[in-house]
């Protein structure tokens, strides 16, 4: 047991950067008012359950899953775009073979979901679901259409800026992240309480950048969205000694 414990303590912990994230209690986003815990969270030591996590995706993904324009009988309406980038940790190390799941509204700003009932047209050729695994260098690419903005009930004349939802597992339970990607120069971002809940210093990390260089001539515009997951402390990883077995 002592040997297991020593190997265990050699595992590097994941650093946190709480100041980068939106506070759970952000009352301008009205749905937080009854859903954000009132008590401060209790520190949880990072142990094996927290330093491991689901490594999913192999066998779950096909090439078609990363092309949201090829999932219907015909192409969906809208501006065809590439959304690509690198997933890395806060130390700059790529996060390879990690599952990314995205979802989004169609070009008119309507989700293919029963509970989205605002009167914008559905597109029979657009589901708005994408999945892929990062490659060995942490890179990913989706082909999709640019989502539309849409109104919501948060306050009078509330509109969400165009965005794509991203879900990532990373390598460990501790690295799990769900976020949203926005588009550069979207005039609605300064009015959006969900984007504004993110501290100003880190808000820009949610805005993709346009890349002329990656744009595919005669085919699709390109946006770059790099995603940075939590890095690990400098403690070097030590392989377990034989006697640990």
């Amino acid at each position: 047991m002592t040997q297991t414990a020593s190997a265990h303590s050699a595992l590097a912990r994941y650093r946190s950067e709480p100041e980068a994230h939106p506070p759970l209690a952000s009352p301008d986003y009205v749905s937080t008012r009854l859903r954000s815990p009132l008590r401060p969270p209790v520190p949880l030591p990072q142990r094996l359950t927290e330093l491991t996590g689901p490594l999913l995706g192999e066998g779950r993904i096909t090439d078609l899953d990363s092309d949201l324009t090829r999932q219907g009988e015909a192409e969906p309406l809208g501006q065809r775009i590439l959304v690509q980038g690198q997933v890395r940790d806060d130390d700059g190390r790529p996060v390879p073979h990690a599952l990314l799941e995205i979802w989004q509204a169609n070009a008119a700003g309507r989700y293919a979901h029963l509970r989205d009932q605002w009167p914008a047209p559905l597109d029979p050729n657009f589901v708005g679901l994408g999945r892929t695994l990062t490659d060995a260098d942490g890179r990913y690419r989706f082909t999709t259409i640019r989502p539309g903005a849409y109104p919501w009930g948060n306050h009078h004349n509330a509109w969400r800026p165009a965005h794509i939802h991203f879900s990532l597992f990373g390598r460990a339970f501790t690295q799990r992240l769900v976020t949203q990607m926005y588009f550069p120069d979207d005039v609605l971002i300064p009015y959006d309480p969900i984007a504004l809940a993110v501290p100003e210093a880190s808000r820009g990390r949610l805005v993709s950048s346009f890349s002329m260089a990656d744009t595919q001539p005669n085919w699709a515009l390109a946006y770059i969205f790099d995603i940075v997951l939590r890095g690990r402390d400098a403690t070097p990883f030590e392989a377990p000694h034989e006697e640990d077995e």
Binding site: M1, T2, T4, A5, H8, A10, L11, S16, P18, A20, H21, P22, L24, S26, Y29, S31, T32, R33, L34, R35, P37, L38, R39, P40, P41, V42, P43, L44, Q46, R47, L48, T49, L51, T52, P54, L55, L56, E101, W103, Y111, D116, G128, G130, R131, H165, R171, A172, F173, R176, V178, Q180, I194, A195, S202, R203, R205, L206, V228, P240, E245
Partner: protein
Amino acid sequence: MTTPSQTVGPFLAIALSWPDGPYVVQEGTPCAIWLRGRVLDGEGEPIVDALVETWQADPQGRFDHPDDPRGAVPGFRGFGRSETVDGEYAVLTVKPGRVPDERGGLQAPHLDVSVFARGLLDRVVTRIYFADEEQANREDDVLASLPDDAARATLLAQPSADGYRLDLVLQGADETVFFAV
């Protein structure tokens, strides 16, 4: 310079709903249990657009993961994912074994849990323990670090007809203990 978190919003099911999501183990697995419960808001109302994810060791306390210094034990997915469309989450799994802490002791059987929902700008993290593991629970230093039995009780799933039940309360007097990990 980590990427900030954002809410999953109300339409998470488009992408995060998997047919096999709730099945950490297949139906018919010996000793399988259903873990069930509601996710409640600050007025005690069930949340029907939340997502509960679970991560746990196998019954021997091992993980199928290369960062476990004891070595990876392949074959156990360890991961469950359930929406609360019908007002409850439900995950079919087996009780995890005890996992060492870093002090030479053993933690009580537990699952790490993430809750996502519209109105949650980041996931909240908690643990599910088992009320009928009294001895192991007494030895668990995470449980011991909580202020009182009432706080501990928010993490203890109670035996039920087909497994265990635990409501997750996001806000209020009976608020679940959430962790900063």
